[in-house]
Amino acid sequence: MKPPPLVQSSVRIFDLSLGQMLWSRRSVFLGVLLGGPVLLALALRIVSTLYEAGFRINGVRAAGASIFGMMIWLLYLRFIVPILGVFYGTALIADEVDDKTITYLFTRPIPRRAVLFGKFLAYLACTVLLVLPSVMLVFFLVVPTGGGSIGAAFPSLVGDFGMLIAGLAAYGAVFAFVGTRVKRPLIVGLVFSFGWEPTVLLLPGYLKRLTVAYYLQALVKHEMPQDSAVSVLMQVFREVPSVAASLVCLAAIVAGTLWLSGRAVENREYVLEQ
């Protein structure tokens, strides 16, 4: 008898894992993380309603869409998406190993890489299901401030959704690969997201192409905020690839790292803690 095809096996693992991910205690962490921007947006909305002069950026009255764009940059793109990628991506297989449930999955007639792919899909579904509503709530709370128009800004929201999904997929895949290869993937993940990427994006040259942020930032239509000297420097050295090139590169990153992760999982022995 032949094992079920890879796609079918992955979908079944996805079915098994999605519920586990959504209803686990980690979702509390996810909820707090994603609720933070919503609460902030609510506070901004309340303040802007009470304080008629509104908010000003560089001395100019800020429209809600600019504030929303800033929140996308500062909260979602630079923090939430990478941290979710590190948190879930590095733990796709490691969690099952730590919980000692990996044995049940690896002694089934499915390729081992189907377990990884299925869990990756579950991670993507889980994070997208939670991140996008958070972004939408922030959008509806913040954009109307300062005389902004939801209708006019709505197409950019759709673009932001696509960008966030691409980011979650890319970071998740990269850190899934890190998780399968490295003993301390969390440290490596944090160094990559909050050390390597911000540093290398400041430097001129080709090094920035060895990041996910370089391609992801090309998909963001909002203006990059100048909240610090680092951001100003980033603006100076910023090179923006085309949207098409970025999408292709991000897809290649996802496909390549997932393939490598699948290979690692197929060949690795997982020794459970006694």
């Binding site: 962490f29 902030l40 950026i57 500062l74 923090f79 590095t90 440290i187 905020p225 100048q226 610090s228």
Partner: protein, 279 residues
């Protein structure tokens, strides 16, 4: 008696006085971490900025053309700032599993069934993390001060900046206490050191990101009390007698720091127990 008793014999030697059990936990924890090559590498790397600064001080003292590199109190403040990245990684590396791993192995019950109080257990664990954090902050800063004295060949700098020694000590201890208690509290909340590491990272970066948004929108630094790194920076500037970076009153920052330490203590008091009390 020709045939000796081979059975169990009670220990009849000296025993350490009560209240020192935390030292056993600390000693073992430190030894365990020092046995890891990767961690030793991280510690060595954390002293790299010290060597750079030492060269700077040497050059300033011995080369007239490098006199502009002469150290000031701000040099030491900046040095401690630069060490923040190593403080973060050492905290995650050492601290995430301190209590989480014991919870995972159900070892808390075993620990607390010995003549060891909960306070001793917590102090022992704190001592492990604080030792390494001080090795990365206080120790290199003090050694840098001594290096400055050695290369200068006189006490002029020290006489003019006599507050530096207590400033480095106080700031390092505030920073290390805040970070260590917060990490230990988070570690007591979970069985997974990975989860704790992410939680800690989220707290640090998320608060910074929220402050970043508020600053970008309001152009005011008075919301800096939201960000943990900013609160520490504010206190650091005051201790080193430098103009504070943020508009937040330093007392507010100090209160936030004290509040976090107190909250961490409360969490530890609730979570470090031999048995879970289910109501």
């Amino acid at each position: 008696m020709p045939i000796h008793d081979q059975g169990y014999r009670r220990y009849g030697g000296d025993k350490a006085p009560r209240g020192q059990a935390w030292m056993v936990i600390a000693r073992n924890g430190i030894r365990h971490m020092l046995g890891k090559r990767a961690f030793l590498g991280l510690l060595l790397l954390s002293w790299f900025p010290f060597f750079v600064r030492a060269v700077q001080i040497y050059a300033a003292a011995n080369l007239p053309q490098a006199a502009f590199l002469a150290p000031t109190p701000e040099t030491f403040r900046q040095f401690l700032d630069q060490q923040q990245i190593f403080v973060f990684f050492v905290t995650v590396y050492v601290g995430a599993g301190l209590i989480a791993n014991d919870r995972r192995a159900n070892a808390l019950q075993i620990y607390l069934s010995k003549p060891l109080t909960r306070s001793e257990y917590v102090f022992g664990k704190l001592a492990i993390l604080m030792t390494f954090l001080l090795i990365v902050t206080w120790l290199p800063a003090i050694v840098l001060l001594i290096v400055q004295l050695a290369f200068a060949g006189n006490f002029t700098f020290l006489r003019n900046n006599i507050f530096l020694f207590p400033a480095i000590t106080v700031f390092a201890f505030i920073q290390v206490t805040l970070v260590a208690t917060a990490m230990l509290a988070l570690s007591s909340l979970s069985n997974s050191s990975r989860y704790v590491g992410i939680l800690y990272s989220a707290v640090i970066f998320f608060t910074q990101a929220i402050y970043g948004v508020l600053f970008a929108v309001t152009r005011s630094t008075s919301f800096s009390w939201i960000s943990f790194p900013a609160n520490l920076a504010q206190i650091g500037d005051v201790i080193f007698r430098l103009p504070p970076k943020y508009e937040t009153p330093w007392l507010v920052s100090l209160l936030v720091i004290a509040g976090v330490i107190a909250a961490s203590g409360l969490v530890l008091e609730r979570r470090v127990r031999g048995v879970e009390i289910v109501t």
